[in-house]
Every structure is written in C-alpha cells, then in structure tokens.
Symmetry: C4
C-alpha cells in the first residue's frame, strides 16, 4: 500500500505542479514549473522510491503485474486480492493528499467550487488519465495503447528479474529500482501521450474515485466516451501477454508457458531447448 501511495503521490503531484503552474492566473511570467519531462521523471522516480518503500513484498505496485506473477511466477494466489485492495487504497489516499496540497491552486485555476473534467481549465487530468481527443471515439486504439504499454512493462520487468541465465545482464538486486525508473520513464516518453500511460488499475482507479469524491462529477467516468474502464482492464491483458511472450521466447527458468509441447517449444525457444538437451545428456552421463 505505501509503495503505491508513494508512486501516486509523486506522479499526481508532478502532474498537478506542471499543469497548475502553467495555467494559474497568478503566474504572471509564464514560467512553467516543469514540462512533460517532469511528469516522466515524477512517475519514474515515484515507482523507484515506491519500490524502496514496499520492496519486500516483491515490488508489486501494479495489480496486473501481480496477477501475471501469480500465473507465471508462482506467487501465491491468496495474496492477489489483499494486494489489490492495498494498492487501490494507497493510490486513493495519495490522490487525496495531492488534492489537499494543491486545493488553493486548483481554486485559482478553476474558480471556487468549480471542478471540470473537460474544458479549458479542467484539472481532472491531475488525478486520472483521459485520452486525447484524437482517440475519443476509437475504443480499439485506446485499448491497444494500454495493452502494448502494459505488455512492454511486464516483458521488460521479467527480463530484468531473469537470473535463470548467467550470461545475461540482469537488473535484479540493487539495480532493479533504477531499471524500473528507466522503464517507466521510457513508457511515459514513448507511449504516454494518447492515453496517459496509466497501465495500472490502482494508479488510475484510486485517484479517479478520489476525484469523483471531491466533486468532479460523473464526467470522470463518462469522459472520453466512458474511457475509464480501459486502463482498468487492458493492463491485465497486456501484462499477461507480455509476460507470456517473454516466457515463450526467452525464459529458461520454469514457467507454465515454456514447456515442450510436442516439440513446439523447441522451435520457438531454442535456448531453453538446448539447455534441456544438455541437462538430459548430463543426467544420462551420470547414470
């Protein structure tokens, strides 16, 4: 819970600072306190520091990565619901803290007791993600971006944690949080424009709920043609897909995916096949 709290605190705090400092009528010099890069920094280091805080529970700040780890990496299933609730709760509270911190600036931009989701002074984007108007009606594209970004996320996380193969550069241990920083920064830089790189049910749903609670109205759900469910569902599919892809083609450890189904496994994961043959030969040699 505290890990997601830190992630969302920095992430949403970063968006708030960048967008509010640009639009505030009291910023006469137009000196923006940050730009899109700051937001990438914020989410990247939010993830990194969140992992430092929550590290010993395996860095599961994302329900979709948790699910994938349950399915492919033998994480006990019973932890999934507990983690999910804690993650959403952490994100919900963090969004509340950000709101409390920036309430004066939000009032200055929007006006007292006015909260809008769309429009020139809308500030709802501080909390939850909304697609660009290019994608307003195109559900498939919205889903696709979230799916791809989540798949990349899980694919690279598995690669960084994969110490089943000696020759590989692994970013486990002390390097893992730094690797996550770069990964998140990259996803924000490359797949973050159109749908806002939520790729995380907890990060998106928790703050969205908070923004609904503090008075942004039902438009938080309906904006972008009822976009809100996309970042809740797509990451699960994407992470599973990315994790399965890695296990299928590269992973040589044990996974339900990369077993030798009638020789098919050998075709697409030659590394694993070679390793198994060596293993067999060694065993026979010992006999």
């Amino acid at each position: 819970m505290w890990g997601t709290f830190i992630l969302v605190l920095f992430g949403c705090g970063g968006i708030a600072q960048v967008s509010l400092s640009k639009n505030s009528p009291n910023s006469p010099d137009g000196f923006g306190y940050g730009d899109w890069q700051s937001i990438n920094w914020a989410f990247g280091l939010g993830l990194m520091l969140g992992v430092y805080v929550a590290g010993d529970s395996g860095a599961y700040l994302n329900p979709a990565v948790t699910l994938t780890s349950c399915m492919l990496r033998k994480l006990p299933w019973r932890r999934l619901p507990m983690y999910m609730v804690a993650q959403i709760l952490g994100a919900f509270i963090a969004a509340g803290v950000v709101y409390a911190n920036y309430i004066n600036a939000i009032n200055a931009v929007e006006g007292h007791n006015v909260r809008t989701v769309t429009g020139p002074n809308a500030t709802a984007g501080i909390f939850a993600t909304y697609p660009t108007s290019d994608l307003d009606g195109v559900k498939a594209s919205q889903f696709f971006e979230q799916f791809i970004a989540s798949a990349v996320l899980n694919f690279v996380i598995f690669a960084m944690q994969d110490d089943s193969n000696k020759g590989q550069f692994v970013a486990s241990g002390a390097w893992f949080p730094l690797g996550l920083f770069f990964l998140m920064f990259g996803i924000g830089s490359c797949f973050g424009w159109q749908t806002g790189f939520a790729i995380n049910l907890a990060r998106d749903f928790g703050p969205r709920l908070m923004s609904y609670c503090v008075g942004y109205g039902s438009e938080v759900w309906s904006a972008g043609n009822y976009y809100f469910w996309i970042p809740m569902v797509a990451p699960f599919g994407g992470c599973l897909f990315g994790g399965a892809l890695y296990d299928l083609f590269i992973y040589t450890g044990e996974s339900p995916i990369n077993q030798p189904w009638f020789g098919l496994g050998q075709l697409i994961n030659p590394k694993k096949a070679i390793q198994q043959r060596l293993q067999r030969q060694k065993e026979e040699g010992l006999v």
Copy 2:
C-alpha cells in the same frame, strides 16, 4: 557544514543561473540557461555531492532529519545543536559565495544598489524561498505543503536506510547518494512550486539571513505575510511525522514507536508482529 555548503552552493547557484540568465537585459537572444528542471537537478545533485563530502557524519544536512534521527534512531542528542549550527553556517557562507559570483548579473537585472524581494525584477528568490501569490494569505496551506514534503523526505530516507529486513530493496551503502538525488528531484518536481521545497531550516534560514545582510531589506522576513518561519518550523513536524509513520507501519528494527502497546502494534504493523512471534518461538524452542 561542508555538506550543506555544497548543497546550497549548487542549489542557489542553479536558481541564480536560471532566473538571472532569463531576465538579464544583456541576454538578447532569450536563450534561457536552464529551466525549472535545472533547479531540480541542482538541488538533487547538490544533496548527492553534499553527502559525498559530509558522508561520514551520517548525511545529516537537514536539522529536521537530524532531530528525527535523534528521536527514533538513537543518534546522540548532544550532536544536534552542533550539527544545526554547522548546517546553518554552511548554508550562510554558500549563499555569500553565490551572491559574490553573480553580483554583476544581479546588478544588471535589478540596477546598482537596488535589491528587491517582490516585484518584476526581484532576485531574493535566489536565496530563500517565497510562496506563490496563490498562497499568500493561506498559512495553513503553506504549512501543509512544507509538512507533507518533509514527511515524504523522511519517510523515504528511512525506507532507503532500512536494512532490518532482508527481502527489501535498500539504498544504503553506495546507492544512498543516488537515491537521495532521485528523492530530492522528485520533491522538487512534485511539491516544489507553491512554496519552493525548502523543507530544511538550514537551507532556507542561512541564505535568507545572508540576503538580509547584503541589503535586501526587512522584506525578506515579511514577504508572503511573514512566511519565513514556515520553512523553519514545518520541516521538524513533517520529518518527525514521516519518520514515525514509517516506524509504525513498516519498520521491523528497534524504534520507540513500534513497540507492542497492548497489542495495538500488531494491528498496524503486522510484519513486525509476525517477526516478534517467530523470535519468541525460537527463544522458547532454544529453552
């Protein structure tokens, strides 16, 4: 002392370069030598390099973190006043060096012998922090931002130093300075706009005193509706709160906070409780 000196030297130097190069009438091409991100970089790496310089005294560049460590981490109390004086002195001298270095540029922007704290050409913000006009009259909000930022600072520092738990990713040892860089950068990116992320009595009071000495007038104290005491007091509260929060919920080492008060400790820090039970069982088994 030298650690804080380096921190403030880079930090205030960074602000000076960014703000003066923008406003200097001799910069005809409007090519700003840096932006808000540069300031984040400056403070982040100032902290990092300051820790390299002052490392063996435990990286105490911030009186509030020092106080919290005295209360929760058994740092000897007698070091507190000594450290505080050294920290303020270091910051005071560093501000003087920055002023001496940029005096020509300040003259070019403000005019000879003119020093202003508010107004279009004000340069006092190079040295101490002043709140945005959104928050001018709202003491509670000013205090809140400083409080929250300090709490996050101390919370994450404790998490990075916490090696009481094997499974955790810790950023102690060689990784600690780099982790501090990211932490400071994050606070500057996410909670740095409204009140300027002083979160440090020494960093704010030392340079403010210097700017008073070199002739900015009494407005350095009265600006922002006598804002000056906020970054002196709030960080103490915030750091204590953040440190206590970490000890209460996550820390499994020894701390005056996470003792089992009548079973309440078990409720909110289950990790610690489980560990204690295991410990007890082991001891009984040995008997």
Copy 3:
C-alpha cells in the same frame, strides 16, 4: 531480435509521441509532450532495456558492432548473418507496432490515407532517419557524420568492456547497460541533429522498410538525394574504424590489430609494448 525490437519500439515510439503531439490539430494548448531530449532519453533507455532483454547474446543490437566484434573480438563469424536478420526483423516489427499504435494520430496530422515523407506534415521521420536540408546534396558530410558517430560508439563500447587492464574504470557487468544509456544519449545530443543518429543498419532499414510497406511511397528511398544507403553502409566503416583505433592505441588484450609489426606497435601503443616487455622479462626470469 527482441533486443532490437525493444530499442526501436521505444526509439520510434518516442519520436512519434514528440512529433505527433506537437502537430496534432487536436492539441489546442500547444503543450508538446516532450522535446528533442525525450528522443535522446527514448533511444538511450531503449538501448539499455534492449540489452537487458537480449543481454546473453552479448548485447549485439547493431549489425556494425557485431561485425566489428567478429573481426576484432573473436565472435564466431557464423553468428553474424543470423544476428543481422534477427535485428532487422525485430526493428521491422517494432516499427509496425508503433505505426499501429499511432495510426489515429498520424491520420489526424496528415489526413486519411495521406502519407508524406517531406512537406509540412510529413511523418515518415518517425520511422527512418532523413538528413536536414543543409546536407541534402552533400553525400560526403552525411557519410562523415554517420561514420564519426559510429566510430565513437564502437570506441567507447570497447573501452567500457575492456577489462584487460586492472587500473581502468570498466563499465562491464552491471554497469554496462547504464553506460550504454549515457553513450547513446551523448551521441543523440551531439551528433544527432544533421542525420538523425541512426548509426545502425537494423534500426534504420527495418523501420524504413515498414514505412514503405504501409504506404509512404518510394520517396522513403529517394528522399535526401537517395540518402537511405548511408546509414546502412557508414556504420560498418565507422564501427570498424573506431574499434581498430581503440585496439591500436589503448587495448592491451589480444587483437589482430595491436600486434607488434616490426616495432611499429610499440610506437603507437606504448602501454601494450611495456606490458609485453614485462611479460617477456618474467618468462625469461622463470627460465
């Protein structure tokens, strides 16, 4: 293959986000989602994460580096064609994914079924590199930039991997991916403007082929006065040159280049010569 896939996915994705978000008619606020620095970040971390993914095959994401390693570092020659096909294929597929992800935004910028390589709304630069108009007719300069950048790339890679010399700072092991990030970022910052720092046959040819397939027309080949073959050929020459330079002047390990040709080797690589004399003396001493 997956390594190059990740490299191009982040790299081209980054360009797409930066250029499309600026030009999209639906971005009313002119808030660019990134700038040239984002593209440097994207390629730098794409390379870094690509190495994590493909690490155990020796980080060969670039056919030219692979060739140089075959010639100077005893990488088996039979791997070269296999790697090259995989690298181009990975880049080709990644470009397809980026295109699919941003197809709506490309339509919004260019218009439906309009794809242009040059002109005000051209988007072909997302996939392959095109020289600036300064260099349009100057083949030699185009070649020179690609050559120099590739030479630097290979020179520094060899330096980072060189553990033949104890006193040296090497970035092999866990530091290698991070070192590559900085190297790529540097090349993009310093030699990336005029010809777009392709320096990689796979990174440039794969996506260019994809952009041809999805309808950008034959101009993808003819633009910049048939520029397309420069980033295919120059990197091979450049990498070989850079690698040979390193071996000639600095490397003390075994390489076909730094043998003592009639005493000439001693002149230009004194370090190696001294080492060899010490070695000889030791052997004679043992006899």
Copy 4:
C-alpha cells in the same frame, strides 16, 4: 589524450548541435534540437565516458586537477607535462572533428567563408568559452567564477576519492565516473552561464587554437576584453584552493597540507586530530 578527446568531442558537439540547429535558416519549424540542459548532459557524459576511455591514467583530463594531484596526492611530477600536452592535443583534434562534422551547418548559419566570434550569427562559442556581456569588463568577476567552479570541482573530486575514512560514502571504483557526471552537470547548471564553465585549460585552449586555425581570426583571443587567459590560469588556482581546503578540513589521509603545525591542525581538522591521538595511544600501548 583520448579521454580529453572524448570529453571535447561530446562537449563541443553538443554545443554545436544546440546552437546551430536553433539558428539554421533551414530549420523552418524552430524545433531546437536540444537546449542548455543538453549541453550539461553533453559535458557531463563526455567527462564520464572520457574517464572510461582514459581511466587507467587516473582520470586526469584536466591539467589543473593533474597539478593539484601532483602537489597533494603524490602523483609523480614528471607525468604533468606529458599529460598536459596530451590533453591539449586531444582537445585540439576533437575540436577539428566537430568542425569538420558541422561545417555545412556553420556555412548555412554564417555564410560561406565567414567566421565570426561576436555578432548575431557568431559560432565561435561552439569551440571556446566567452563571457556574457554582463562581465565584459569585469576581469575579477570572470576570474572569480572560474576560480570558484574549479575549487568546487577539485573539492568534490577529492571527497569522492577519499577512502581514508571508512564511514564515508565514497564514489571511487565503479561509482566514480557516474559521480563525475553529476558533478560536471552541476557545475554547468549552477556556474555555467556567465563564463561557460571551461574550468580546464585543455578543454578551452585546445579548441580555441583550432578555431583560430580554421579562420575565426584574432578575435578568438581578444574577445571579452582578452578573456582567453582566464580559463587557462584560474582553474589552476581554483583547483589548488579547493584541494587544499578539503585536505585542511576533512581529509584524514596523508597530505602536505594537514600536518599538525604547532597544534593549529587540530583546531581546524578535528577529525584528523582525533585519529592521530588514537594512533599515538595505540602505538604507545603496543610499546
């Protein structure tokens, strides 16, 4: 030599790209390929990668740091002239490569066979540093900035290399190049505007000579009221001062500076004094 070559190649290449891409008449969209931050990045990572390349000669890319190490760290004096010549030569050649690479773009900005040091289209700043017009006549201030920046440079380098003290965070070993990156970035961010953070005779004199050779005229020497000798002389004083300061106040290893002159040493470097007393007591105890 190669280390300085890499440093200047990236550094000047970075400036060239940023300034030329902004002013080129063929950049219709005003999309600057980088900003001041890119230049910080370029010098920071140029230093880092230069250290990887030249690492085993002790990272001496700067004649002033070399001199200071000769005086305070027992580096053999006979290496100093050799290193200095190599450093200047490396910088000279690197500047030539940058010039050759960007010659078309320089022609486009300045016009064929026109090379200017001052004026709206001047490009001499790519190679050597020139002070801002604020400081044109103020020799003392020019000197002061170079002096301070060099002192900080050497102070922090000594701190990072100081493993005489166990409790300290040291950035020697693998962390040293990364620490240098942050240090250089910081100096560029905080003391880089007014005189261009040369702080290095080789980095400034080598390229300045090259720019004179390729036809920028004698103004490269006379500009800024004969500024050219400042970055040649000031760094020596600054580095010596910074190094001495560190040895005086913090260093506990052996240095000609921190000997106990009649008890004075104890006053200003208590750490060293305490250590010496402990040492004495141990020796007496052994007797």
